[in-house]
């Protein structure tokens, strides 16, 4: 099982680095985040990354993660390599995990590209390290969760663009319902629904907790359990496809 995961992981990771689209999206991700942040940085002159982490969920959910996850299965449908993969003597779970981990590593490489900001801050001032580390831990968890949603969605569509758009909608929804005022509007339409989304579904609250340096077990369990759930569903959906 472990060996199988690593074989798939290596191939998929290589595929990311072969693909020009992946580079393009990484550059967009880094430039977008850095420039959104730089506005705050020069305007307020604070040596912290709060502004960076406040826009990060939306950038991740709408653009970067869907762009990484879209190809994970959709490409295999298109090239028919799905027929190869699912007739290899490997468990479907191992293939899902190998692909997921490759996507995760690629995401982490993109995220590492934004480390220039804390380095810059450390040179220019004396930033509070705690929230920055917390923010990055949160970013890893959030990205991992979105990626699990993305690979799950990618398992249903042979068109990468469709996978991208649907993942982006799903992740965007999770981010937006976690913002204070979006649930308020929904509550205005259907009382209770907005708060329900905010409390149980929205992702932003959990991310903000971790980012503030409050590493709450609840938030960690939220991210990890949903990540595992979507990966499990992905494997099950691929097995169901046989029938």
């Amino acid at each position: 099982m472990n060996q199988d995961i690593s074989i798939i992981f290596k191939r998929e990771l290589k595929q990311y680095f072969y693909s020009p689209i992946a580079y393009v999206f990484s550059i967009i991700f880094i430039v977008l985040n850095a420039s959104l942040y730089m506005f705050h940085f020069f305007f307020f002159g604070n040596a912290d990354m709060r502004a960076f982490f406040s826009t990060l969920p939306l950038v991740l959910g709408l653009v970067f993660i869907p762009a990484i996850s879209m190809r994970l299965w959709s490409e295999d449908y298109k090239l028919n390599t799905i027929e190869l993969l699912l007739t290899l003597p490997m468990k479907t779970e191992a293939i899902v995990l190998g692909k997921y981990l490759a996507g995760l590593v690629f995401y982490l490489a993109g995220l590492a590209g934004t480390l220039t900001i804390p380095i810059l801050l450390a040179i220019l001032g004396k930033p509070d390290i705690g929230p920055i580390i917390g923010g990055y831990i949160g970013a890893v968890m959030l990205g991992g969760f979105f990626l699990a949603i993305g690979i799950f969605i990618s398992g249903f569509f042979s068109d990468q663009i469709v996978s991208l758009i649907i993942t982006s909608l799903a992740c965007g929804f999770l981010v937006l319902v976690g913002w204070q005022y979006v649930p308020m509007v929904i509550d205005g339409w259907i009382p209770g629904l907005g708060s329900f989304f905010y409390n149980y579904v929205g992702v932003t609250r959990h991310f903000n907790d971790i980012e503030r340096g409050v590493i709450d077990m609840k938030s960690i369990v939220y991210f990890l359990s949903f990540t595992v759930l979507f990966l499990y569903l992905n494997a099950k959906a691929l097995e169901r496809r046989k029938y």
Partner: protein, 318 residues
């Protein structure tokens, strides 16, 4: 080795396979023929565990495809109809990936890798990107993929599509070489290919198995009468009366464009009766010079058309 029992497969409301049952013995080469959409690929996908049968059972070796898919996959080398290739990889990298994924140890991989390259003729393109390969090389890369782990069972869905005539002969010979040690099922549209390679032919039409047997069996199955073309130097009347005198002859059909002094015609007789010895004896008794004596048989194409057509006329009741 491979055994299907009452396999049915539905895709939504369409029934792709209806009650398919057959078994393939170890070492046998079975050709799978049928029109497009008849269910050849679906049957192959069930055997390779890619899709599951809606009902019925399929076993490969002693393993059920649903209960123990990994053991089945271990035994099978599979060439799907649409070649499953990663276009960004080099041919070498692709084969290495398959070798790893098939759990080949380094020593064994090296040996098999060399064997596969030699037998599929991939040596000139090993360091090329798959995306730039010609259709023939893509097909061969895929065939190499199916062979690299030395599988006991080979499932080849249209193995020669996209190849030129010379390459087709090469692949045919390769399949024949493998025949003794491996169990092979191959599907194709090209009928002569099946008759030269396969021991046994399965004809599917509209999701049903309509015929199962050797090439000769199939022809027997669709022809009620055989014919022979005879042309001799003799008078027309003598010829006619002599032929009609042989018991079993149903019809004599003259061919008019024979040269002067030569008479020729098609002699029809029931397929259950063999009149050839009598016919031969008659000509010898009369000392006629034989210009042409040719046993006419249906081509595989014709019998294939008859099989699939008669099946459709009977409302798929075969």
């Amino acid at each position: 080795m491979i055994e299907l029992k009452n396999v049915c497969k539905n895709y939504g409301l369409t029934q792709a396979l209806t009650d398919i049952s057959f078994s393939v013995k170890k070492g046998e080469i079975v050709g799978f023929v049928g029109p497009n959409g008849a269910g050849k690929s679906t049957t192959m996908k069930i055997i390779t565990t890619y899709t599951a049968p809606t009902s019925g059972t399929c076993r490969v070796g002693n393993h059920d495809v649903l209960e123990d898919p990994l053991a089945v996959r271990q035994m099978i080398g599979y060439l799907p109809e649409t070649v499953p290739l990663y276009y960004d990889m080099l041919v070498r990298e692709y084969l290495e990936f398959i070798g790893q994924a098939r759990h080949l140890m380094n020593g064994k991989f090296k040996k098999r890798y060399e064997w596969v390259i030699e037998n599929t003729g991939l040596a000139p393109v090993l360091n090329r990107k798959i995306s730039v390969l010609s259709k023939g090389y893509k097909q061969r890369t895929c065939l190499a993929q199916a062979l690299i782990h030395d599988p006991e069972v080979l499932i080849l869905d249209e193995p020669t599509s996209g190849l030129d005539p010379l390459q087709i002969i090469g692949i045919r010979n390769l399949i024949r070489d493998l025949a003794h040690e491996k169990t092979i099922i191959l599907s194709t549209h090209i009928l002569p290919e099946v008759s030269t390679v396969a021991d046994r032919i399965l004809v599917v039409n509209d999701g049903r198995l309509v015929a199962d047997g050797s090439f000769d069996d199939l022809i027997q199955q669709v022809t009620e009468r055989n014919s022979v073309y005879v042309s001799v130097k003799a008078g027309k009347k003598d010829f006619e009366s002599a032929i009609k005198g042989i018991s079993g002859v149903e019809e004599l059909e003259f061919v008019h464009d024979t040269p002067r002094g030569v008479v020729g015609g098609h002699v029809y007789f029931p397929s259950k009766k063999d009149i050839l010895p009598d016919l031969n004896q008659m000509i010898r008794d009369r000392n006629w010079d034989v210009v042409e004596f040719n046993r006419e048989r249906l081509s595989l194409e014709e019998s294939f058309i008859r099989l699939t057509r008669s099946n459709a006329q009977e409302g798929g009741d075969a």
